[in-house]
């Protein structure tokens, strides 16, 4: 319960206790530490909780910059950004999203400004497209389970094991497995699309299993995690490692597993839109995110995983995630355009919907 109260408490604390941040719905304002000389507008599909430590630390380095942060759902962020781009209107100085395919589409449509700096030059090639879309995190897509409810022999270590688990213990796990609603979640769609690419047979069978198990569908990571917290759901699938780890830190009963057959690794994207009013401030923030200091803060307080570092404690996963070949970083590049093709997307989501949403309803005993 305390977990659910946290956002409200945050409002209360922040609203009454300090002038440091005021939350209006999904919007947060971080005033400059000294006299404000610039205001950076960030539209992000990233939890404010995760971004806050980074924003605050950035302001230590840029004491005259105020930050206006609005939290979006990925699909909404993309839609608004696309419209603004077509109409040539401004929509924030910096866009952050876990749906990197959407950012790549925006960049491909010519809606992004290039930014080059010493920090950007250090970014690996798969996390940088055209110096317009940068991946600034390193987040594996993990499975989360509640250890009280999932016995050790049940713990799935691969996609196949999950599928089998759901098939062999249908009653136990019916309605107890949670994942994204692809209709609402952009990142959910992307992860599913990539799952289908990585191992289509496995994906098909998993989908079938999820359908039969009457999977619980939610819009976002935190929604799934809160279900896990409350014990409604025993296993969360395709959860972003950062959120999962934050949740696990709060609730010691939650455990994280990196699937050993393959693990998709998301690098959350940042983009400076063409309509940005303060692109130079956006560039500074971007540089900060990519810098060693920013990465350190990210690893310790925000995203917990990093490409160079080892897995955080108590995470069940392979020793060397990327070198072993198990970790599959999602390449930020034009290949993601296939995911963003409207026909492709609508067909994929249709197929998924038919299987996961419609069928269980149909099959549920009345």
């Amino acid at each position: 319960m305390w977990r659910q109260l946290r956002p409200i408490a945050l409002v209360a604390v922040l609203g009454f206790a300090s002038p440091a941040g005021a939350v209006e719905g999904t919007r947060a304002f971080f005033p400059a530490l000294e006299a404000e000389r610039g205001r950076l507008v960030i539209n992000g599909a990233t939890d404010i909780e995760a971004m806050e430590p980074l924003i605050r630390d950035f302001q230590e380095t840029a004491r005259d910059v105020a930050i206006d942060y609005t939290d979006y759902v990925t699909n909404d962020l993309y839609r608004d950004a696309d419209i603004a781009c077509r109409l040539k209107q401004p929509f924030g100085d910096l866009l952050l999203s876990s749906s990197v395919d959407q950012l790549v589409k925006l960049a491909n449509d010519g809606c992004a400004l290039a930014h080059v700096s010493p920090e950007t030059r250090d970014v690996p090639a798969w996390a940088n497209w055209r110096d317009e879309v940068f991946g600034f995190t390193f987040e594996p897509s993990v499975m989360v389970y509640h250890k009280d409810f999932v016995p050790p022999e049940d713990v799935p270590h691969t996609h196949g094991e999950l599928t089998d688990l759901l098939r062999f213990k249908p009653d136990y796990y019916r309605g107890r497995i949670g994942t994204y609603d692809l209709r609402q979640s952009g990142i959910g769609y992307l992860l599913a699309f990539l799952d289908a690419q990585q191992a289509s047979t496995t994906y098909g069978r998993l989908l079938e299993s999820l359908s039969r198990a009457e999977a619980v569908l939610r819009c976002c990571n935190n929604a799934v995690l809160s279900e896990l917290d409350s014990g409604n759901v025993y296993i969360g699938y395709n959860i972003l490692g950062s959120y999962a780890y934050a949740a696990a830190r709060r609730n010691g009963k939650l455990r994280i597993v990196l699937p050993r057959d393959y693990t998709l690794i998301l690098s959350r994207g940042a983009l400076v839109p063409t309509g940005a009013k303060r692109p130079e401030l956006a560039g500074r923030f971007l540089d900060y995110l990519l810098s060693e200091r920013g990465q350190d803060v990210a690893r310790e307080k925000a995203f917990f995983f990093s490409r160079s570092g080892a897995l955080p404690a108590e995470v069940d996963g392979p020793e060397k995630l990327v070198e072993s070949g198990i970790g599959r970083p999602i390449r930020i590049g034009p290949a993601l355009l296939a995911a963003q093709d409207r026909l492709q997307r609508s067909r994929f989501i249709d197929d998924w919907t038919k299987l996961i949403v419609d069928t269980p309803v149909r099959l549920r005993p009345n």
């Binding site: 010519g110 497209w129 055209r130 590049g333 993601l336 296939a338 093709d341 026909l343």
Partner: protein, 461 residues
């Protein structure tokens, strides 16, 4: 304004450099052209491959055309890391199935039925390369042509073309530099004979009129031939002239002696003062004429000998004494102390006795005519590796400013009366032929000295 000298070397180098530059430019242009074509070719295949993959994934399902866009097609195109991709799938009815609806840029889809069509155009303000691939669909419920329009920006292409061109240009540049360096060396080497010829000519004695003998390339032969021809003619002229002078002087001798004889026989006792004076003048002029004639002859002989007579080791002291004897008349003023001082050891020089005698005789004669008042001393000595014959008199001497001019012909230090004549000039020429000089010592406290300075004879030189 001084005209700038042209240099054969630089002319050649410049022209070769120009040609190489021109060639390099042409090659670079060709390289750029081919690089572009190659880059286009390479990336066109990617474009085509992606388009074909998409056409391959077209399906007809219940009368509806559907297409699954394979990620691999985009990954293929993603090999051009920075380029943006635009695409459009068009059904037989002309409707856009998916992709960028406005990717409609004057494409002749009919032409694409025969085979893939490529074109370069602009889309969304950037240049793009477009491939159009068609597929004929024949399904019982559905038939017609479907098209895939695949476009990609050209950054990678340009990059590749640029890189290829740059590499080619570097190679061309290196080759050109090597060629230029090689050519410069070759030109320098080839022009060596010219330098050698110049050096040979420079090293020659200015007096030397013998033909130039040297190894030289065919192209220079006309020049040297000309020089030699000219020198030959000059030599002939000089010889003829000298011979003429010699002959003339010779011819004059007899009438001159006769004239002198007549003048000698003229009794001046009966003459009045004026006539006596005139007679005196006549005697002086006859005497002057005689001297000049002798000098002319002396000179002609000396010149002639320098060509034909071989040098031998000769005793300079002996020669000087002979010159002294023949030049100092017995009738010299008795109040003048005339002395001859030989050196302790014999002084040998490599030369011609007759010319040396003439030279010394002329110097002594000059002193007698113009210098001597009370004293005339002739000394022969050696100093280091030089042999010296010094003629010193206590007369007024010649001022230093005139020393250079005096050794050229017919310069008179006093105008009119008693001109120097050829004397010093003859001595100077003889000295030069013996690799020595005639020099002067300024009248210090005592005497004005004229010195004939020639190198000592050394065994084996």
């Amino acid at each position: 304004m001084k005209r700038r000298e042209t240099s054969l070397f630089w002319r050649l180098v410049l022209r070769v450099a120009l040609v190489l530059c021109g060639g390099a430019t042409l090659l670079s242009a060709a390289a750029w052209y081919y690089a572009r074509a190659a880059a286009d070719d390479a990336y066109d295949r990617l474009l085509l491959g992606a388009a074909i993959q998409i056409t391959a994934n077209m399906t007809v399902d219940a009368g509806n055309l559907g297409v699954t866009l394979p990620s691999s097609a985009f990954e293929l195109l993603g090999l051009a890391e920075r380029d943006r991709i635009f695409y459009r799938v068009v059904g037989p009815d002309g409707r856009t199935l998916t992709g960028y609806d406005d990717l409609d840029i004057g494409i002749n889809v009919t032409a694409a039925r025969a085979g893939p069509v490529f074109l370069t155009t602009e889309y969304r303000n950037v240049p793009v390369r477009v491939a159009v691939v068609s597929r004929a669909l024949s399904d019982p419920s559905f038939s017609g042509w479907a098209y895939v329009v695949m476009a990609q920006t050209t950054e990678a292409r340009r990059g590749l073309a640029g890189e290829l061109t740059t590499r080619a240009m570097i190679l061309v540049g290196i080759m050109s530099l090597l060629a230029l360096a090689g050519t410069v060396l070759a030109i320098r080497y080839s022009l060596l004979p010219v330098d050698a010829l110049a050096a040979t000519l420079r090293a020659r004695d200015p007096q030397d009129l013998t033909p130039v003998e040297a190894d030289m390339p065919r192209e220079l032969k006309p020049f040297v031939g000309s020089i030699n021809h000219f020198m030959g003619r000059l030599d002939e002229r000089v010889t003829l002239l000298q011979r003429f002078i010699a002959d003339a002087a010779h011819q004059i001798r007899t009438p001159l002696t006769a004239l002198s004889a007549q003048v000698d026989m003229l009794e001046d006792d009966d003459l009045d003062v004026n006539r006596k004076r005139h007679l005196g003048r006549v005697r002086d002029r006859v005497s002057q004429l005689a001297r000049l004639t002798n000098q002319l002859l002396s000179h002609a002989m000396v010149i002639h000998r320098s060509d034909s007579v071989r040098f031998k080791p000769v005793d300079l002291g002996d020669i000087a004494r002979k010159a002294f004897r023949s030049t100092v008349p017995i009738t010299v003023d008795p109040d003048v102390v005339v002395s001859f001082e030989d050196s302790a050891e014999p002084v040998f020089v490599r030369g011609d006795a007759v010319s040396l005698r003439e030279a010394i005789a002329n110097i002594i004669d000059n002193a007698l005519q113009h210098g001597v008042e009370q004293r005339l001393a002739v000394r022969v000595r050696r100093e280091d590796d030089r042999a010296l014959v010094e003629v010193a008199d206590d007369g007024p001497g010649i001022p230093p400013a005139e020393w250079a001019a005096v050794t050229t012909r017919f310069v008179s230090s006093k105008m009119g009366e008693g001109s120097m004549g050829l004397g010093f000039a003859i001595a100077a020429e003889v000295a030069l032929a013996h690799r020595g000089t005639v020099r002067f010592l300024e009248k210090g406290g005592r005497d004005f000295t004229v010195i004939l300075d020639v190198p000592l004879y050394r065994e084996g030189t």
